[in-house]
Every structure is written in C-alpha cells, then in structure tokens.
Symmetry: C2
Subunit: 237 residues, 2 copies
C-alpha cells in the first residue's frame, strides 16, 4: 500500500485586486510600477490596506496576504517529502479558486518572482514548464472547498490543523493517525492571518487538531507536520 | 543550569548595493521606484543579476540574496523557542557585518516591509521599537566571524550545519550534543544559495553535521533543528 500525503492551504488570502478598489491611487500606482493592469495585480495588504479598509471590502482582515501563501508554499515545496514526490500540494482560496501545484514546481524565494508567477497564473490559468511542458501550476475557478475535497483530493482522512482544534502534538497526530498504513491522509492548514477556519471548511474535516498552545504561523505548522511524516515514513534512513 | 541556544545565519548574502554597480540602469531604476539612493538599496540578484555578472562582482554567485535571509529569519523567529526567549539569533554577512536580532523582533512576512527595515538598518545601524524603545535590530561593521563567535556569542559548542558535514539527523544532533544540560549551544546555518562555508567560518566550528542526503534550504534546516531543540527541552508539555 502506497502512502499518499496531501497538504491543502485553505481559505488562502490570495486573489487579484477586486473591481471595488481597482481605481484607488495606491493600486493604480503599484500596477504602474509592475507594468500591469490594476485588476491583474495581487491584492496585498502591505500596499492596499487603506484602500481595502475604506472601501469596506468584505472580510478584509482575512484577505490580501500573498506573503503568507508564499511562505507556506516555500515551506512545503522545500521538504524532502515533496522533493521525493510523496506529497501533493494544493491552495484553495477565499474566492473558491483552486490552485494545483505540479510535482516539479520549484517556487522562487524572491517575492518579486513569486508575484510575477501568481499574476500570470491568475491570468493564464495554467503555467507549464518551459523545459519539458509539464504542468507547474493550474488554476480552477468556482469550486467550493467541499467539492474540491470530495471530487479532487478524495482522502481517507482530512485533518484540520487549527488553534481551536484538540490539543495534541505534530508527532502524536502523525503516529496516531496511522500515516504509515493509510492510503491517503490530507492535512489542511489556514492560509490567512488570524482567526479560525469558516464552517464551510471545518465541517469537511475528519478531525481538527492544535499542535501548540501558541498560535503558530501556517508555515511553522507545515514544517513540523511534514517533518514528522518524513520521520514516520523513514525518509531519513 | 539554564540552557541557551543560539542560531547564527553565517556568510549571509545580505548587503547594500556596492559602489561598483550603483550606476547600472537596473539599480538606478529600482532605487527610484523605492525612493532611495542607489547605494542604500539591498543588492538583489532578482533585479541586479546582469549588473552583478557584467561588473565581475567578486563571489557574485554567493551574494545578493536577501530573500534567503528573510526566509531563514522568519523561520527562526516564528518558533515557540524564540517566542519564549530561549533562542538568540544573529546574522553574520559576507561583508563581515553582524546583525543582532532583538528578543522582541517580529519580522514582517511581506518582503516589501522586510526590505524597508533592512535598508533602514544598514543606514541607521540600530532600530528600536517605537512602542518601548527596546532594541529590535542592531548592526555592527567590520567584525570577522571568528571575532564574533569568540567575543559575542561565546558558546560551549559551535555546531555547523552543512551538506558536507558528518551525516546525522536533526534529532541525533540535538540528543547527542547534550543540549539539555549544556550552558550554551550555537548552531550555524549558511545564508547563501549554494556551495559550502568558507574556511574562515568552518575552522571555528566544534563539529559539522549534515541532516539530509539532499541539499536542504537554510530555512528547512533551521525549522528542523529548532523543533528538535524544543522537543528535547520539553517545550511542548
């Protein structure tokens, strides 16, 4: 039996600038610097905070954090588990968009380059490798978290990692959930700055665990869970 | 006996633009976008690659990677070990500059904000908290790695982590080096894209270990070593 592990970065604060704030000076100014149309660039609280606030953008505190997704993806894609093709990675956004990460994607650490790739992905919906034409990134619109889990991921167990979950440790979660003998375990980590998963997400979880009494950053949770998976799968021997 | 753990990001590819390439169009253009003097901005391979190459900048393949330092610092500063004040963090750069990280620093995940802070640090040499005036970041010029270790860190053991070190695992390194009963263990991770530590750095190590047969990114090595330190120190109970 082959173990498959999936990681899902859910309710990800990654989207392009919404129409509502596209004509705000901060947005137009940044779009000009990037040589892009304002609606093409990524919503980013570091640049658009006052525009987001003033326009009363819905759930604005949970949106416009591409930096969080960058760190979370970098963490997952740098692990031996991913490098050895034993991990599938997905991003599901606040706007019900699904991003499928290709097995051979090496994400750039430079934010400038990451931003360019994501802008292209939102526009083109697919990015293939220039070398061998393999899919690196694919974007699908209008798919709810539940549809995505049921139709695309189809895990045996879906484990949510959230500070309001049952207190445990990364090691316990991995050892008690029988990673080694399961067909397919999927972990869900939040891709947003604070607060908890919405009901639409959490109702799909088989279990929900918290691995620290501190509110850990998504990338730290990812690092620890994947590392424990590697240990239990004897990837280091 | 109190355990103290230090993390040093060594030969860090973090510096401001050198005089040699300050008048290159790519540098001037980027400085203008940031509203800065060309010599104030960070050397960044993502923007300055051709300028670095054409001017024959010494060891150019090991320089201009502030993104690597951003990821490495974020990894360390997001751990419970750091958040509970049990970890001291330092950056020692290719240009023999030492950056001391204050215990209360929360580094921004946004590269745009990180860049702004680092530009200010190189200019002002110190950044204090606007809230309570505590030191957040301090920069010292002209201190070699050896001087820094002997005069500032003064660890009982200095452990280098490098792909050409003795093969081990993060767990073994932490358990065999008696972290729990030592006064002060310092770990050194490289803050550069590829290759090994220079002789100036590695000759100061007590030991040198490799934790994977793959060449892991600095931030992955940091995540794993610090997590194992937390486990052995019972930080999760």
């Amino acid at each position: 039996m082959v173990t498959l592990i999936s990681l899902i970065i859910a309710e990800a604060a990654l989207e392009t600038v919404p129409k509502q704030i596209a004509s705000h000076p901060a947005v137009k100014n940044q779009a000009q610097k990037l040589g892009r149309n304002p609606r093409e660039i990524l919503l980013d609280k570091s640049y658009h905070h006052s525009a987001m606030l003033r326009s009363g953008l819905e759930s604005y505190w949970k949106r416009g954090r591409p930096d969080i997704i960058h760190f979370a993806l970098m963490e997952a894609l740098s692990t031996p588990l991913f490098l050895k093709n034993m991990l599938k990675v997905y991003v599901h956004t606040v706007k019900n968009k699904l991003i499928i990460i290709g097995d051979n994607l090496r994400i750039p650490k430079s934010y400038f380059r990451f931003e360019g790739i994501m802008i292209n992905l939102f526009k083109e919906k697919i990015i293939n490798s220039p070398d061998d034409d393999n899919m690196l990134l694919e974007l699908h619109d209008n798919i709810t978290f539940e549809q995505f889990i049921i139709n695309e991921v189809r895990p045996d167990k879906l484990i949510g990692l959230s500070s309001d979950g049952v207190k445990s440790s990364a090691e316990e979660i991995v050892s008690r959930n029988n990673i080694k003998n399961s067909n397919h375990i999927a972990f869900v980590v939040g891709g947003f700055p604070k607060g908890h998963f919405s009901e639409d997400t959490s109702r799909v979880f088989s279990y929900s665990f918290s691995i620290s009494e501190l509110e850990l950053e998504a990338h730290v949770v990812i690092a620890r869970i994947l590392y424990e998976c590697e240990k239990i799968l004897d990837l280091h021997n």
